[in-house]
Symmetry: C2
Subunit: 573 residues, 2 copies
């Protein structure tokens, strides 16, 4: 009973071992993460099309709930760039930004996504996420990064522009370019430039000063805080808000409110697909961060329990004025590097953010939106990486076409279409490839008992015996291909008396394939040719033995290919 409980409540396990040293490490990490998260949370709320405080709220309850249910010791859960973009894309099809309905729909999206994650965790359906292949994710994140960066340019320039794919954004920006507010643009461009410099220029300087790479990383990640402070002071000092610089303005001083998502069937119907995609993408992003960090300390991650943790976090977000969340890469790495030992660090971060939401919001009244846009642009451009195109091109054209499709469809039609197209195409390509398996005709390597491809090696063959090796499990998609292949091989060569299928690479034979083997056997019989099998694997043999096929088969099952050919040759003489 107790082991069951710790599986579903990992907090019971690490909570028992908690001690003073872990406490102080966790407190330090929490302080650093809190400082870093304040501007990031505000920025991602902006990206999701929500008021800035929603970003803070979405970081508090979710972190606490993940600390209770999640299995990673270092993952920090909250709003992340790609999921925020997907939230904006999903909602603005349905409700207008800035309305009350929009915020409620965001709650519903988080609730739905939470329920989907929870359901997948309870029914152990985590494998569904595996169908999002690495190349598709890489392409998707790169394209999303470009769209996010493009969507923030309007804030940098202080103009209005809209769109959910690159083309719409570029056209809309072009139409409004003449309305640029130059003071906003100067703030935005300087902030962006400074943040890029912090990443590229400051890091080497700090490292030369002898700071460890962990601390350097943490300092660099707090760069946005400096920009926030400086630009807020500038706007306040020079009254720039009066000159058209858009600012964050009034933010309620409050703990996260209790909220109730709408469950109108109409709304849920429209949000179901986006919620599913957000869940899958968020889960994949989160679990790969969690696995990478866990490996560094030889810890275990349970993917199904992770689904439950993320599901609880999203349901929490939906009940406390938030929006969809997941485990973020940069915040988790900062948390880890700053020395967090247990999920308690996350709980302390939540407390820090709650204090910020309650007490510090008046300080960001004059914070320019251009600054937040700058932090987003710099954060997401580090995700943009076209090298996957070159890499997949070199490795396999199938992978390349999946990546290219994902990138082009995401840029051209938006995030939901992009990820669906990528997943769909990679499944189709996989099915296509496995439907035309590699089938080699093999012969004996002289002086050995090995059999190799007659096209690649100098091998011995017998004109009356054809041996085919199928390099794939046999199932419905390739069963008929094998039928065609054998029939045509034998119909073209009147000398053939025996066909041997070397089954060393066949891990499974499904019922379709069994029926194809039966058809092959019957047809070969009609042509007066005998069918044999060799090197059938144990589990496959177990299944075949329970069927009548082996009795009806005209030939025999041989343990090894060598034995098969020896016996058949001997019988001929």
């Amino acid at each position: 009973m107790k082991t069951d409980l710790t599986r579903f409540l990992p907090i019971l396990k690490w909570g028992q071992e908690y001690n003073r040293s872990a406490l102080s490490n966790d407190l330090v990490a929490a302080l650093i993460v809190t400082i870093m998260l304040i501007p990031q949370s505000l920025a991602y709320a902006l990206l999701a099309g929500l008021p800035p405080e929603a970003g803070l709220y979405a970081s508090i309850a979710p972190i606490l709930l993940y600390a209770i249910f999640g299995t990673s010791r270092s993952l920090a859960v909250g709003p992340v760039a790609v999921v925020s973009l997907m939230t904006a894309a999903a909602l603005s099809h349905i409700v207008e930004q800035g309305t009350m309905g929009y915020a409620v729909a965001a709650l519903s999206l988080a609730a739905l996504s939470g329920l989907i994650l929870l359901g997948m965790g309870l029914f152990r359906l985590g494998f569904v996420a595996n169908f999002l292949s690495h190349p598709v994710i890489s392409g998707f994140i790169t394209a999303s990064g470009i769209i996010i960066a493009a969507s923030q340019i309007k804030h940098i320039l202080g103009v209005n522009a809209d769109g959910h794919n690159l083309l719409e954004l570029v056209i809309s920006l072009g139409q409004h370019l003449s309305e640029t507010n130059w003071i906003t643009a100067i703030i935005g461009i300087l902030a962006t430039g400074f943040l890029f410099w912090v990443r590229k220029g400051l890091k080497p300087v700090l490292q030369k000063m002898g700071l460890s790479s962990g601390i350097t990383g943490v300092l660099v990640k707090t760069g946005p805080v400096a920009v926030v402070v400086v630009t807020t002071l500038a706007v306040w000092g020079f009254n720039l808000a009066d000159k058209g610089v858009k600012i964050v303005g009034e933010v309620p001083q409050s703990l996260p409110p209790l909220t109730l998502p709408s469950f109108s069937p109409d709304l849920l119907g429209q949000l179901l697909l986006p919620a599913f995609l957000i869940s899958i993408i968020g889960f994949v992003e989160s679990i790969s961060v969690a696995q990478t960090l866990a490996a560094k300390r030889r810890q275990r991650i349970d993917p199904d329990q992770e689904l439950i943790g993320l599901g609880a976090a999203n349901i929490g977000a939906s009940l406390t004025g938030g929006f969809p969340v997941t485990g973020g890469f940069s915040r988790s790495v900062v948390n880890f590097d700053a020395g967090a030992e247990t999920p308690a660090a996350g709980a302390f971060t939540a407390v820090g953010l709650a204090i910020a939401a309650l007490a510090l919001t008046p300080l960001i009244y004059f914070l320019p939106k251009a600054t937040l846009a700058a932090t987003i642009i710099v954060a997401v451009l580090s995700l943009v990486d076209f090298s996957i195109l070159k890499r997949s091109w070199n490795y396999s054209k199938a992978d390349f076409s999946a990546v290219l499709t994902t990138i082009l469809v995401t840029l051209g039609l938006g995030v939901e279409a992009g990820v669906s197209a990528g997943v769909g195409l990679s499944i189709l390509l996989h099915l296509y490839r496995s439907s035309k398996p590699h089938i080699a005709e093999v012969g004996q390597v002289p002086g050995t008992e090995h059999y190799r491809n007659i096209l690649r090696h100098d091998v011995l063959t017998d004109s009356s015996i054809v041996t085919l090796r199928v390099d794939e499990s046999l199932y419905f998609a390739n069963a008929r291909y094998l039928e065609d292949k054998i029939q045509n091989r034998v119909a073209d060569d009147k000398n053939v008396r025996h066909v041997i299928l070397q089954c060393s690479a066949i891990n499974e034979i499904d019922l379709s394939a069994l029926e194809s083997l039966e058809a092959i056997n019957e047809r070969l019989k009609a042509m007066d040719v005998t069918l044999h099998l060799s090197e059938v694997k144990g589990p496959v043999m177990d299944r075949l033995k329970a069927q009548s096929f082996l009795k009806e088969m005209s030939g025999e099952v041989f343990l090894s290919q060598f034995e098969a050919e020896q016996k058949l040759k001997a019988a001929q003489h």
Copy 2:
């Protein structure tokens, strides 16, 4: 050049070798097939919801076109039961039966289906049909047979009833049962009974009389002709049409008319999915008959060219007043058994049917519809075979659930939903299974160089070395599963220093799997564990060698698993 032409026009090949003996054999076969086809064609037109002459027209041009483009020497192309049912199901959603628009829509459906088949042939997309697994087809044909039989009961009873799935049909029949025309019912029941007796009772009698099984089969297949003659004479002689027995009535005396299908975008949009399903189902039915018959004479079938032949046949049907056609099982077997040697037999059959359409239609004026319904019922009930349920249950639960789903959805929701559900489910199950491949931890069988599953065999292991054998190609759907498996195995056991992946069953590694291997390598490094590979296949190794992974991998690639363990053990001491 010439070989290219004979590929696309198989007639050029057999046409050159044509001689007098083949001619006389083909003429005899054509006569028998023509006699058998007359009632069958009329009946399937009725099933498709079209006037009876459409069945004759659909058997003439298509047979001729298939003779030119098809690769099977014995296949007879024309209306078949399942495709006729699917035609009725597709059209009656859109147009009312009996209207002019219905007949035009049938032409459009045939044209669309022809273009799809032709396109698939030209682009060599025949493999798409492979995704229709044998169990799904068996289930689908069984369920279709039941629906077809149920849909004909109204003609047997002489009542009106409608519906596209079993439930609708049964309810509708129940509502109209009181309107039964008893004379019609007597004719219908007697005809059905007689035809069943011909199949079950007459065959043994004929065989006892010493007739060959081929000739017996042909005689049995002409049973419907006898019923047609007798019941037509009865209706005419006793004036039964005046007593409410529904008859075929006036049928135009004409060669197939030239017709033009409608290409209104609206109609084509609605017909696209049904046309696709009809094409695939028709192709699969046709090719398995063709393969079976070809094997008996050691002949070749080219699936892509078959698509072209069937495509041409359907386009022909659409231009000559027909409806979708394909290679039929019973007519092809009769053709083969009657001694047809070349597709010229088909051409002669077309001539015979043309004469029938031109001259014999007045003779069927008094043919009762109940007789046609009886021939359909007896023909399709022979397709109904529930043994696939038992067989798949014994063989694999995945196959069983695909069959059961296909049968239930076809019966409950109709043919299109049924076949889609079956195909969808079998693809999902396949993806699910391959996403959780069998991964065995292996150890050395004492005294040998073999390595087997530690759970199944008494084997030697070393506490610092873990060897895992993956029994599946590595691709995106199972790459992360392997990551989890390895990480959890190693995180749980602090003694582990080496992980060896035995790759003997891995036929392919895609880019996702390569990136997973890289992640596994990095994570194992972080845990101070070395990753090795053994028994990597040639083509897989070629690909890996072109990448940086093997250089970054912490361990080595060993030719054999035995060598790997020997060397690692030696290095420890």
